[in-house]
Amino acid sequence: MGGELRYEIGQSAYIKLVLHALKHKTSTVNGVLLGRFASHNEEVLEISEAVPLFHSQIALLPPLEIALLQIEEYFGVQGLSIVGYFHANERFDDRELCNVAKNVGDHISRYFPQAAVLLLDNMKLEALQSGKDGGPVMQLYTRDASKGWKPVVADGKSRFTLKEPSANVVLHDYIISEKWHDIVDFDDHLDDISKDWLNTELFK
């Protein structure tokens, strides 16, 4: 293996996660990332799907366990594994990765050692809403040798990129049209099982 692992997030997954955070501006939200290694290049991990999980009491186990069971079941058939975790803090200026996020990240790492944790970057998201595109509005964290979660610094060779370069443009449009009203998370599903946590109709 040559260099370090790169992470690439697909538009559908990226937009779902950000819309979820925007729907619940006053809460912590989280989600699960699904993907696989790129077929042509084992040094790239493609995050092709995401499931928004919860917007309330995210540190409780039962809903998380039920969600992961069903998510693994559904996506396993398609050859996708749980490859990471997304987290958005409650407060605008909170840029730290909290313990709950680290714990879930650790749990996912047990089954997928190169798991990624993505933290919503509120400043970048705010800039995007005023039309400034600064790349993905998330901070990537990976586990280092000491098994701690460290932010990956954006330098010359970007380790975290958007698969589709126009993803931010599409996201910006969705924000303007308040598309976040339509997003469904696992919390919504548990409150009303007729709500589809796969969001299959979202982008139609």
Binding site: P62, E65, E73
Partner: protein, 302 residues
């Protein structure tokens, strides 16, 4: 806490007003009554009334309540100019009011002038040591600045005086959960269940916390509280049904090799599984296969 019925009614009204069908004042009153946080809508529709002199005079005395409501909504959506204007109007009309003083304190908070807000609130409390709203603003300020431990301290002090404030107990439980202090969260839910034993939400949250804590005794208790949630909610609570499955599976894992055959436990498990499958078949048929395999893997792991 808003019931499903109330939420449906609120959403219906909101849709109506959003699409130009009128009813803005009824919507704003309902938002106030249910104490929900819909600040962007409140701001939009509230301003449409306040900026129209005819509509405003039709409100009579209620005009000032609306100014207060819009001011707070404006602060929540960071439209501080609007908030300032509303507060100015209120201050002019009620020059000595403590209630307006509270809103002014909140404006200081919204601007991020924490020290000034703290000063204002402290002096209020000197004159009115039993002002619940101001006590709660202190907790909110600590939370907003990320001083979660300080928020806990203030909230505990508040609850020593106002121990019947159920919302405060819930808030404290939720803060403890965020910090993964599950034992302390469990204590809060115990207080709530003692005070209001027929509210299923408290049983459910208590069960969730106990399951998260883990250990054989906690799991057994969690299972009992999931069961009581199901009973209190007429069997309609999906989370509680799943909770029973998780508990049964986890308990069986812990007692593996101890040859404990619990007929009643497996009966309960199959009842719950049947209930879940029936519900999914009716309301989410596309997800039924996922549910079935999830239940199967829980049984397998036991």
């Amino acid at each position: 806490m808003v019931s499903k019925f109330d939420e449906l009614e609120l959403n219906k009204l909101e849709n109506q007003v959003d699409n130009g069908g009128g009813g803005a004042w009824e919507y704003l009153c309902l938002v106030r009554k249910l104490k929900v946080r819909r600040s962007d809508k409140v701001l939009k529709h509230g301003l449409s009334i306040l900026n129209d002199p005819n509509k405003r005079s039709n409100l009579g005395g209620d005009e000032w309540i609306l100014y207060e409501q819009v001011a707070i909504a404006a602060m929540d959506t960071q439209c501080l100019d609007v908030a300032k204007e509303c507060v100015k109007v209120l201050r002019k009309r009620f020059p000595d009011s403590k209630r307006v003083g509270r809103v002014e304190g909140m404006l200081l908070e919204a601007k991020g002038s924490w020290a000034e807000a703290e000063k204002a609130y402290s002096s209020f409390l000197e004159d009115n040591p039993l002002d619940q709203v101001i006590h709660k603003r202190r907790v909110a300020m600590a939370k907003a600045q990320g001083n979660t431990l300080e928020a806990i301290e203030w909230l505990n002090k508040y609850l020593e005086i106002f121990m019947a404030d159920h919302d405060a107990w819930r808030e404290l439980a939720e803060i403890y959960i965020c910090l993964q202090m599950y034992k302390q969260a469990a204590f809060c839910y115990e207080e709530l269940i003692l005070a209001q034993p027929t509210v299923p939400l408290y049983h459910l949250s208590y069960a969730d916390v106990l399951y998260t804590l883990g250990g054989s005794e906690n799991l057994q208790t969690a299972k009992r509280y999931y069961a009581s949630t199901i009973e209190l909610s007429g069997g309609k609570n999906t989370r509680a049904l799943f909770g029973i499955c998780l508990c049964t599976s986890a308990i069986a894992q812990l007692t593996k090799g101890r040859n404990k055959e619990d007929r009643s436990s497996s009966d309960l498990q199959s009842l719950v599984a049947t209930a879940l499958e029936k519900d999914y078949k009716r309301r989410a048929p596309s997800k039924l296969p996922l549910l079935t395999s999830a239940l199967r893997s829980l049984k397998l792991s036991s």
